[in-house]
Amino acid sequence: MTLPPTLNSRDTILAVFDHFREELDDHNDRRERLIKSSRDVTNLSKKVIFLLHRTMTEDVGEADDRTLGSRAASRARGKLKEIQSLFAGMRPELSGDRYARYQRNVSPGLQEYIEALSFAHYLEHRALISYEEVQRSLCDDDGTPYFPLSLEDYLLGLSDLTGELMRFAIASISRRGGRQKANDVCHFVRDYFEGLTPYFRDLRKKQAVTGQSLEKIEDAAYAVAVRTSEFDLPSEMLDDLVAQMVSRTADRSGFGDESGRRKPRETDYMDADD
């Protein structure tokens, strides 16, 4: 700007504010665009998460968990790619010092994406996706990051993952081998939960929800443990007993095999979603 250091007339003041307006408009427009993209990311990520849940609870008889897990992950991969290309599209808007400025506008979508990605990762590998792996999923072909993944988003995304795991554990508890699965999930979540100290304000809030999710899984695991102890039978036999019972009832009433279980599951879903 070739303006005097002090503004002594209305015209110079107006000229300067004209410039401010351009700058502020530019900023607001960019923010709006990013919020929209972030919303698209959230939307797609939610679909991925539902797809994963659906695949894991499909009735496919003989398929074991591992096959189901990799099937779910491979089905999700295409959609995750789609989301990654959305992030690639946001890249110019987030270059340089812009990322720090607009991070909070992109965060909601990014965290949802991390939730979906880490859930798919868990189902496939039974492990927690690392910071590096998430960052790598957000890089172009040369391995240059679209933007530096913030630790905050990574950790908050993982906090959301525990909610999905809770649903997954509770949903599978009535299935064959589900009790073991619930126990695995329980240990996994507990590991994660205890491994982190809540540094960020938002994280502290989410940690509380994670705590609730963990408690729900623990309660379910407890109920199972108590009830199993009443019968001195190996767990596979119990599974078979239950399966027989369920199929008999299903034959008679024509209801799905989960009619009795549906309700608590759906309320859990609503609880964890707010």
């Binding site: 300067v16 401010f20 690392s130 910071y131 630790l151």
Partner: protein, 224 residues
């Protein structure tokens, strides 16, 4: 969680905590400086116009000392992370902007521009991605200036300076015309902008009182 990942997370957390602590230290210092500055400038309401320059001379070194804070912050903030940390010091920075613009107004009756404020506070263009004077912070400072001038309009009359309210009125109207050109979002800047009209009303009332009683010219007579 695997240990390598945990280690990485912890080291990143530690680095952030360290930066935050260092910035906090600077902000405390910055806060002290701006509070001293605002404290000195508070006396404008009881200072006659002929003594004003002495008061400004007292405030000047404190304002200049803010450069140390700016330089220290530029040292601490990592590249490209300006927006991540700026909220920590923006309150103090806005008071500094307010002080600088108020001093310039009292000195020359004009509005100190954003680049000029930035220079006064020691911001260097090459630090742009670490510390810079954002438009938002400048505008907040200018709004505080208007708030303060509406008070000065009243108090200068009490001290017998009947011309000051008229000068202030013209100055503030120009600034208001500038703000009206902006498309403000529904944020704090917008709310504070909305409050400007009350300041203008207050100044108008003073001008009205003064001109109705033909006090303004009599001040000139007194000076003769």
């Amino acid at each position: 969680m695997d240990s390598q990942n945990l280690e990485r997370i912890n080291s990143m957390l530690d680095a952030e905590v360290e930066i935050r602590e260092k910035i906090k230290e600077q902000v405390t210092e910055f806060d002290k400086r701006t509070r001293t500055l605002v404290g000195i400038l508070n006396r404008i309401h009881s200072t006659r116009s002929e003594k004003m320059s002495t008061l400004l001379d007292q405030a000047r070194p404190v304002l200049d000392s803010c450069r140390e804070t700016t330089a220290a912050l530029a040292d601490i903030v990592p590249p490209d992370q300006f927006w991540k940390w700026k909220d920590m010091w923006s309150l103090s920075l806005r008071s500094a902007v307010f002080s600088a613009t108020l001093m310039e107004y009292l000195n020359s009756g004009t509005l100190l521009s954003l680049p000029a404020v930035a220079e006064t506070l020691g911001f260097k263009p090459e630090w742009k991605d670490r510390v810079t004077l954002a438009v938002e912070d400048y505008l907040h400072g200018v709004i505080t200036l208007v708030n303060e001038l509406s008070r000065l309009a009243v108090n200068s009359v009490t001290l017998g300076d009947f011309e000051q309210p008229i000068k202030i009125s013209l100055f503030v109207k120009d600034i208001f015309a500038g703000f009206s050109m902006l498309n403000l979002k529904n944020d704090t800047l917008r709310r504070r902008y909305d409050s400007l009209k009350y300041d203008i009303k207050k100044i108008e009332e003073v001008v009205y009182d003064v001109s109705l009683r033909k006090l303004a010219p009599s001040a000139q007579e007194k000076a003769e």
